[in-house]
Amino acid sequence: MALDFEKPLEEIESRIGELKKLNEKSDVDFDTEIAALEKKLRSTSKRVYSKIGPWETVQIARHPERPLLRDYIQGLCTEFLELHGDRCFGDDQGIIGGFATLRQHRVMIIGHQKGKTVEENIKANFGMASPDGYRKAMRLMNLAAKYKLPIVSFIDTPGAYPGLEAEARGQAEAIARNLTDMSTLPVPVIVIVTGEGGSGGAIGIGVGNVVLMLSNSVYSVISPEGCATILWRDGSKAPEAAAALKITADDLVALGIVDEIIPEPVGGAHRNMDATIESVGDVLVKHLRRLKKMSAKRLIDQRYDKYSKIGRYKKK
């Protein structure tokens, strides 16, 4: 699936495809034409992706073929022992988690799970978790604390689920509780934003010693569409809002929220899933090795300092 701004590439790609088919069927040789088009594709691709703005990045971050949590688990873990339920109400599918062996490191993985198909998406509520999801995540994180396992939290959500049942069961309380309890976890917490970091739904499992972002992911207090509707009184001004909100990985590093950006292949993670997953694995292992050497007290203090520094008031 090509995004709007990728249309010029899609045209060249389909032309190449047609010529390749003709090449097989007919006696005429199209090799020169194909080579020329492939060259054009490379230069066009360079041009298209070098000038993508925050709004295009939002499109890539939401790309339906982008790798999801289960892809990362499958690509990086020799074992994943999924654990279920919040012990209060149910087993939300918007957030999943469990024991995992990530390149020889035993860890607890939690994270948002979107779906690839309509059925999967309905089951996972499009990655919008309910209070049960946040409580399940906290239950697993507390278990990780007990077993002294590092926690890796994958963020990819449009936001916490806005529903009647979610409110009735305390969406606000569940997120608030996680923010508090995550701040004192005695084990390493690595947070990685792989797609959409949607507001309270993201930070609800996002308090870490280190926060990583894929280069085409976004992290924001409100969706660009929501912000445009409120502050521009016009949802179609989402591109303007996306720029004003400063939601790209580069912005977040500059603002001191994100510690490291994991580069994606040209065009986005979905264009080369294996390469993306490998890079994510390399960076995770690097931080796991470093954080595992830190004492519980240092981990807690470092996490506290990281957040108390954000928005610290400086006299002008």
Binding site: P162, A172, I175, A176, T180, S183, T184, Y307, S308
Partner: protein, 277 residues
């Protein structure tokens, strides 16, 4: 307002707004003096109107004991944000002029019936009581101040949620303030949350829900997601009492609904149990 006495006609035109307050909930006409004496609570329907942070402080803190803390903190513009209506900087400056406040929360310490406490009082008049870097900083500094003195900490919330104009920095204030609350918990310092109308979005999903005791004013709107967003998502109408203090009490998220006039006495009663011993 001496001028209107000059003409009987003018007096008729202005008397409504000068002598009477119309209850925003039941539309009853309340004699203004009665309205003020009743702490802006409707005698007919018990609607608790929004009041300022200084009014709340004066209702709760023993007179002469208040000392403002972290008063130097004011708004910042970390994103250099601008929207259709212009720069956030100008919007913040206008809010300061209008309210005489420097941020959406008033912080300090004082005594409640002789018991020393630290307090953060949000003010809805200042950009909808939004949680910003300045607001998060004031609350965090005051919580740390409370922790050093082992004084109980009380937050009175009144907020529409995070301040969009500060983007991700405002979102992170949820984590920052909650970490400060966690430290108070570790120290065994009491933390009480009073939720007033409205307490929604990022404030409901952080410190407001985390009191050792959560107390709400009657009929206060309390919830995470906006009513319209939920109705659009689930495509059904929500019950009338949805996201009210009463609804939250019924669902187990607050301990008590307390009338404004009784709030000080109620806090004092609770504080007796949280005394250091």
């Amino acid at each position: 307002m001496a001028w209107f006495r000059k003409s009987g006609r003018k007096q008729l035109e202005t008397s409504d707004s000068d002598l009477w307050t119309i209850c925003p909930s039941c539309s009853a006409h309340i004699y203004k003096q009665e309205w003020e004496a009743g702490l802006k609570v409707c005698p007919k329907c018990n609607h608790h109107a929004r009041i300022s942070s200084t009014e709340r402080r004066d209702l709760l803190i023993d007179s002469g004991t208040w000392r403002e803390y972290a008063a130097h903190v004011t708004t910042s513009d970390p994103l250099l944000f601008s929207d259709a209506k212009g720069p956030y900087k100008e919007k913040a400056a206008a809010a300061k002029t209008k309210t005489g406040l420097k941020e959406s929360v008033l912080t300090g310490d004082g005594k409640i019936g002789g018991i020393p406490v630290s307090m953060a009082i949000m003010d809805f008049r200042f950009l909808g009581g939004s949680l910003s870097s300045g607001c998060g900083e004031k609350i965090t500094l005051t919580a740390e101040h409370a922790g050093r003195h082992r004084w109980p900490f009380i937050i009175l919330s009144a907020s529409g949620g995070a301040r969009m104009h500060e983007g991700i920095i405002s979102l992170m204030q949820m984590a920052k303030t909650c970490a400060a609350i966690a430290r108070l918990n570790d120290l065994g310092v009491p933390y009480l949350s009073v939720l007033t109308d409205p307490t929604t979005g990022g404030v409901s999903a952080s410190y407001a829900m985390l009191g050792d005791i959560n107390i709400a004013e009657p009929h206060a709107l309390i919830g995470f997601a906006g009513r319209r967003v939920i109705e659009q998502t689930i495509k059904q109408k929500l019950p009338d009492d949805f996201q009210t203090a009463e609804y939250l009490l019924e669902h187990g998220f607050i301990d008590h609904i307390v009338n404004r006039k009784d709030m000080k006495e109620f806090l004092h009663r609770v504080l007796q149990y949280g005394k250091r011993r």
